[in-house]
């Protein structure tokens, strides 16, 4: 039987589906017996899902233009 601490140490791999079947079964047994770890597992999963859908920050067009201008200058010097 896993302790909560052991469960939490494996949580990332479990959510990424990177654990071997034997360990996976033990982890699943633990969450079915431990309501707190079930909640932590469920809300960590939701945390990851919410961030997956996060928009990349918009960058101001002038940032792109300044960067491109600096690059072009550098390229012109090189060739």
């Amino acid at each position: 039987m896993l302790t909560c601490k052991q469960f939490l140490e494996e949580l990332s791999d479990y959510l990424d589906e990177k654990t071997d079947p034997q360990l996976r079964q033990k982890l699943e047994q633990h969450i079915s017996d431990c309501p707190n770890c079930w909640v932590i597992c469920d809300t960590t999963k939701k945390t990851i899902q919410i961030y997956k859908g996060m928009d990349p920050v918009a960058i101001a067009p002038d940032i792109h233009d300044r960067l491109m201008a600096a690059l072009e200058q550098k390229m012109a010097r090189k060739t």
């Binding site: 601490k5 939490l8 140490e9 949580l11 990332s12 791999d13 959510l15 309501p35 707190n36 079930w38 909640v39 932590i40 469920d42 809300t43 960590t44 939701k46 945390t47 990851i48 919410i50 961030y51 997956k52 996060m54 928009d55 990349p56 920050v57 918009a58 960058i59 940032i63 792109h64 300044r66 960067l67 491109m68 600096a70 690059l71 072009e72 550098k74 390229m75 090189k78 060739t79």
Partner: protein
């Protein structure tokens, strides 16, 4: 992040063109990665001006050293590594009294794990407007230590594999894994304050 061989070949062709001084090709590389690099730099430096500098320095350095890019790793992983180094230098400059490194020893004690245990609403993000949600998510990340921020952004937002993140950050695979776990647990904790079901607490399940 899974890239098909065709995508990698296509990118290799763009890089070859950029090496020859084709500005259009470099513009394409910028267009692909500038927002991600800017976001990462912003999360590490927590300062828009610094992040803009980092973005510019990273791409200029990438152009300068394009000959050294072997093509064994993805261009993105390679430029992340350059950008992270630039971003850490900025941090060090600002906090001149202490060195900042992604390799700091981390507290693996339990005190950062699960103080707040409460179930969330079914679709908690719908309680907030897009802007509010964005603000909550960003400030939660910014509340993490720099060593966790970079790992979380690369793995869970950009979708890099553990191995790619390790390469980009010059960390070992176990170091990336342990930082990712702490980052996820700390974010979960921070977000629980916003997303928990009303009137809910740990003991409801006992």
């Amino acid at each position: 992040m899974s890239s098909s061989p065709i995508e990698i070949d296509e990118e290799a062709a763009i890089i070859a063109q950029a090496r020859l001084g084709n500005t259009g090709a470099f513009n394409e590389l910028l267009r692909r990665y500038e927002r991600k690099i800017f976001r990462l730099a912003l999360h590490i430096t927590q300062n828009r001006e610094d992040a803009e500098d980092v973005l510019q320095e990273a791409f200029l350095k990438a152009y300068e050293h394009l000959d050294q890019f072997q093509g064994q790793s993805k261009f993105y992983t390679w430029i992340v590594r350059i950008a992270v180094n630039q971003a850490l230098m900025k941090l060090r400059k600002r906090k001149a009294d202490r060195s900042v490194s992604l390799d700091e020893t981390i507290d693996t004690g339990e005190d950062n794990i699960a103080r707040e245990i409460a179930a969330w609403d079914e679709n908690p993000e719908q309680k907030y407007s897009r802007e509010e949600l964005q603000r909550i998510l960003t400030s939660a990340i910014d509340g993490l230590a720099p060593i966790y921020r970079a790992v979380f952004v690369l793995r869970d937002i950009d979708g890099l594999s553990t191995e790619e993140a390790a390469e980009a950050l010059d960390l070992s695979v176990p170091a990336v894994k342990s930082r990712l776990l702490r980052a996820r647990l700390q974010l979960r904790e921070k977000l629980t304050r916003f997303f928990k079901r009303k009137g809910d607490d740990a003991f409801a399940y006992m």
